[in-house]
Symmetry: C2
Subunit: 134 residues, 2 copies
């Protein structure tokens, strides 16, 4: 019962969730090449029409796609709202993120200051480690 109208407001939880599924991202890739009917979209995917329709509903609910039924065919196309919301989120967080990362870089530099003190302004930050599990 907590369903609110999200015509303009995209739920960021659902957006990320929607994009977290490879089938849905594949659907979006296909749609970025042009509008398609549900069955055309389903054909190369190896899953049922029903499953694809469910994915499309999710994409539509978070503003990543738009669909319209004409006759017995539902035609799907890409939508901008979801993508805009994603970019907006990134823009809003990148600043904070980079500030912190730069600060960490400085701390590291200070720490390594024992030797020389020459350094490129944009330190290379890569290599994240990590295991891959699960």
């Amino acid at each position: 019962m907590r369903d609110s109208n999200l015509d303009a407001q995209v739920n960021i939880d659902r957006l990320f969730h929607a994009l977290g599924d490879p089938t849905r991202r594949a659907l979006l890739d296909r749609l970025s090449k042009g509008p398609q009917s549900v069955s055309k979209l389903a054909a190369p995917l190896g899953i049922t029409l029903t499953a694809v329709a469910q994915h499309l509903q999710i994409l539509e609910e978070c503003g990543l796609a738009h669909t319209e039924k004409v006759g017995r065919v539902r035609t799907c196309q890409i939508a901008s709202a979801g993508f805009d919301a994603l970019e907006q989120w990134i823009r809003a967080h990148r600043t904070l993120w980079e500030q912190r990362l730069d600060l960490l870089g400085e701390l590291l530099a200070e720490e390594n200051e024992a030797a020389s003190a020459n350094e490129a302004p944009n330190a290379d930050r890569s290599a994240a480690a990590t295991g891959s599990k699960r």
Copy 2:
């Protein structure tokens, strides 16, 4: 060292999945203000230490955070790999997306002035704008 960055490849599924959870995004926001221990991070969240540790593991696995244990305290900080991967994905898809959206815009414009002449392979009329949400 002109590495193609293949081994540090962040799993995009997992990345989106990780970002889809509000608790994890809250953790990232806190971390963007500075490194924290697990218990400090857990304190204001109203969930158990264990749950927070699980979230942190997920964040670490997709390159959004880095943690290191010193003594009995695990200190967590923000990491760049995940965020970089996200921006990369966006950059790679924005082009396609915008091309398609621009094209759709053109089609719409054409359609509006198409009282005559033009053909188009499939002449399907898009009738009333039924904003049916289903």
